[in-house]
Amino acid sequence: MRKFTENNASFDSTGNTVQAALADLVGTYDLLGKQLLNEEGKLRSFLKVYVGDEDIKALDGVDTALKEDTVLSIIPAIAGG
């Protein structure tokens, strides 16, 4: 994904929810948006978002609240056969 973020591995956001932080991210790197989000603006199915060590699916999804020092990770599914 770094070729869409000017090779930056991390991004500081002031968004106070996962949704707001993702909007902040794709608003900054617009080419990244097509990689992360589908036509409906939802996160692509092969990606997971973690807040700390917790999948947001086990929290409040994209409405999960973020504190100032929370680390949010966007993780691609790695699999094969």
């Binding site: 070729k3 591995a9 092969f46 997971k48 973690y50 060590d53 999948d55 990770s73 993780i75 691609p76 599914a77 790695i78 699999a79 094969g80 056969g81």
Partner: protein, 149 residues
Amino acid sequence: MQITSKAIFPGINLSEKAKKIIFEDAQKTYPHECCGFFFGKQIEGRRQITEVLVVDNSVQENRARRFEITALDYMRAERKAIEEDLDLLGVYHSHPDHPAIPSSHDLAVALPFFSYVIVSVQKGEVNHWRSWQLDEGGLFAEEKERHNK
């Protein structure tokens, strides 16, 4: 179904240390598939692999034909890359008793940018390995082994 193309990538070099770790994992895990990450630097497009992170195959069924890596292990790999000032350049896995050619399932779940090293293990012994990367058209093209001068 077309899986591979003739696109050309600059090549990949696995250090002897990296090969040893990957091959040992492939043999130890046989007859199941092993998996892990590798790290290094990309110089003029050519990938120099120096470090490996072995992880568990988290798939529960058909482990001889499938692998999955957990999100937490992926985060470990990203952290290792940052801490050691290396790039996370790809994923390896083994093909027990099959050649090191990507399957249609490999293609269906592959990500761009990553190198996919596949190790063929025949009757418990490493037979050969090959590396693949998605081309612009979304097919796997081979990334040839290039030895350092």
